[in-house]
Amino acid sequence: MRLFKNCLFAGLTALTLLGAAQVTGAQETDQVGRSTYLEALKGKKVIFVPISQGMDLNQAWVVVWQRHAARYGFTLEVRDPSGDTNAGIRAMQGAIAEKPDLIIVQNPDVQTYARLLKQAQAAGIKVLQVNMQSATQTDSYVGNDWIEMGRLEMGELAKHCTGPNAVSHKVVWLAGVQTGAANIYMRTGIDEVLKANPELQLVSDQPADYMSEKARQITETVLQQHPDLCGIMGIWDNAEVGAGAAVAAAGKQDQVTIVTNGAGSATGCESIKNGLLDVIFNFNAPIQAEIAAQQISELLQQPDRKAGSEKTIFFGPITRVDKTNATGRNCWKLDELK
């Protein structure tokens, strides 16, 4: 009986509240500006042309953007050229022809899309570049400060490989693709540190093409030439595991410091725990994606602003991750982002 009474009471309360909510109406409880915002984003079309969707950073970006798209009513289409530059050019041309409201692009190098991006802007399409810049600046760039990244990584090696206790002053730069934006700008940062630390000796500067086996081969060869090598710096944690494997095979894990950068996925943390890598400068792809998502909504909310009329840049955070902090949010898993 008491249960029945309680139920009745609860039911009546709920009904009253529901009625009250309906009476007060939408205009009073709506957050200021929200409906205008939703109106601006609704039905807008965004096309993303990545380098390859198989990379951890890309997956994190798209998961975050899809969440925003689903919540706020715009569409996000991914045109994945899967690492093929020619397919990428076709994807860009196709995207421009469709006249979407916004194109997001991750450039394979500084030149390939440079003219296409100008065309897109001339056609009135807003363009957001992520992490890899083109020679053409567009409405917005969200991604790494690559010069700072080069400075941080070589600076880390300078800490280990200068001074009286250093095993030697010999360091290696395992580049990615020489014409890639990350590569070009990191080199500027590296050169600054090398200039400030003249005793540092850059004994090898070879691109591993973002491939772990190539990184392994170069490292193995260089270690034969310079058995007293002190440090290696690279450009992507998934490639530098190959350098780590070569160093481990030579039994020099205590001698050679391996520094690289990465999107902050759990595989990178695993590589630190396995001793293949020492330090990852983690640029946290999910946070990058959130910054880019703010840019997406900004650009979509300003349909009257002329494409390319205002150019902005946003650098994401960089966290130094080593054995002591390779946990938690520094090591994301894709499923946790969904």
């Binding site: 899967s82 691109p207 491939m211 086996e213 260089v222 998934n238 396995n274 293949l276």
Partner: protein
């Protein structure tokens, strides 16, 4: 067999010249690098050269086997990365990793069987059949596996041994390459099946008219080359703990062809053997090692490699000229 006989009668005295040219170039490079580069001649560096070409060499043995039978297998890199990635992928469901590797082998053999049937029975020219199949295999892999890079579990003892183990100081990767090469050499030269491969490659129509089972021979060849590609993938998995499926987009498959043609296996089939592959592999190994030590840029490394391939093809055309018989029975 008929091939070597032919060149004997047509141009006495220059038989195997291309192989000798490559051996000579390798020897010159070896001497120059030894004299000019520190530590080039050290035992460690020689082993590093061999270790660095073990994957390339293993793939080239498979490719050489196909080219001898007048085919070409452009699926090798796709099969290698997708086969190994497939094994890792099913092991993430909780399947024992070693068992998963066996499942991977079954898948790879099935792909080889399909390729072989397309070439031998549907009679699609191998260069087109394998190009298309390579693309489909990689594409299917991309749809199934979310990531480009897949990592093997870190606690597999035998896999660690493949990557870092040595026997009598020789790295396991080199031993596996040597074993694959030795088996293939034996198979080609000492078994009846091997001789039939040469006969098919030398003149498929004649072989068929004579009553040789050319279709089953061709199908078997593609199954074996797929399994050899898979073996190369396992070496890679051992060496770098993961497999990067983007290798499909790299120039690796052309490097494999470079090694085969450079070593002197004529693209018109029926000639050459494992020795040619080894010679070609060692030249590429010495060249890459020297250029890496000299810190040559990636672009100039590729340029030098391409010029050498072009040179090797030109020499091949002069030494093994197309005669009426070969041009009538077609080329790849």
């Amino acid at each position: 067999m008929a091939g070597s006989g032919k060149s004997d009668s047509a141009r006495p005295g220059i038989k195997m010249s291309q192989e000798l040219v490559v051996v000579a170039i390798s020897a010159v490079l070896f001497v120059v690098f030894s004299a000019t580069l520190n530590n080039f001649l050290s035992q460690g560096n020689i082993l590093a050269i061999l270790k660095n070409v073990s994957i390339l060499g293993t793939l080239a043995v498979g490719m050489g086997f196909i080219v001898v039978g007048r085919g070409i297998d452009l699926t090798m890199v796709a099969v290698m990365v997708v086969g190994v990635a497939f094994s890792i992928w099913i092991s993430t469901w909780g399947v024992d990793f070693t068992l998963a590797i066996i499942f991977g082998a079954v898948l790879v053999a099935a792909i080889g069987l399909f390729t072989g049937i397309m070439v031998a029975v549907a009679e699609i020219p191998p260069i087109f059949a394998t190009l298309a199949i390579a693309s489909s295999v990689y594409g299917s892999g991309r749809i199934v596996f979310a990531s480009d890079v897949l990592y093997a579990p870190s606690d597999i003892g035998w896999l660690k041994f493949v990557g870092n183990g040595t026997i009598l100081g020789i790295p396991m990767s080199v031993i596996i390459f040597a074993a694959v090469a030795a088996l293939m050499g034996f198979f080609l030269k000492k078994t009846r099946f091997g001789r039939l491969v040469y006969a098919t490659g030398d003149n498929p129509n004649a072989a068929r008219t004579t009553g040789l089972p050319t279709r089953p021979i061709i199908v078997t060849q593609y199954v074996i080359s797929a399994l050899i590609a898979y073996t190369a993938g396992i070496i890679m998995l051992g060496l770098v703990t993961g497999i990067d499926t983007r290798l499909y987009n790299s120039s690796l498959i052309y490097d494999v062809l470079l090694v085969v043609v450079l070593g002197g296996i004529g693209l018109s089939g029926g000639q050459g053997g494992v020795r040619n592959v080894i010679v070609g592999t060692i030249l590429v190994g010495i060249l890459t090692n020297g250029m890496t030590i000299l810190n040559f840029s990636y672009t100039s490394q590729n340029l030098i490699k391409s010029v050498i391939l072009l040179g090797a093809l030109a020499i091949d055309a002069i030494i093994n000229p197309r005669d009426e018989q070969t041009s009538q029975s077609g080329d790849i």
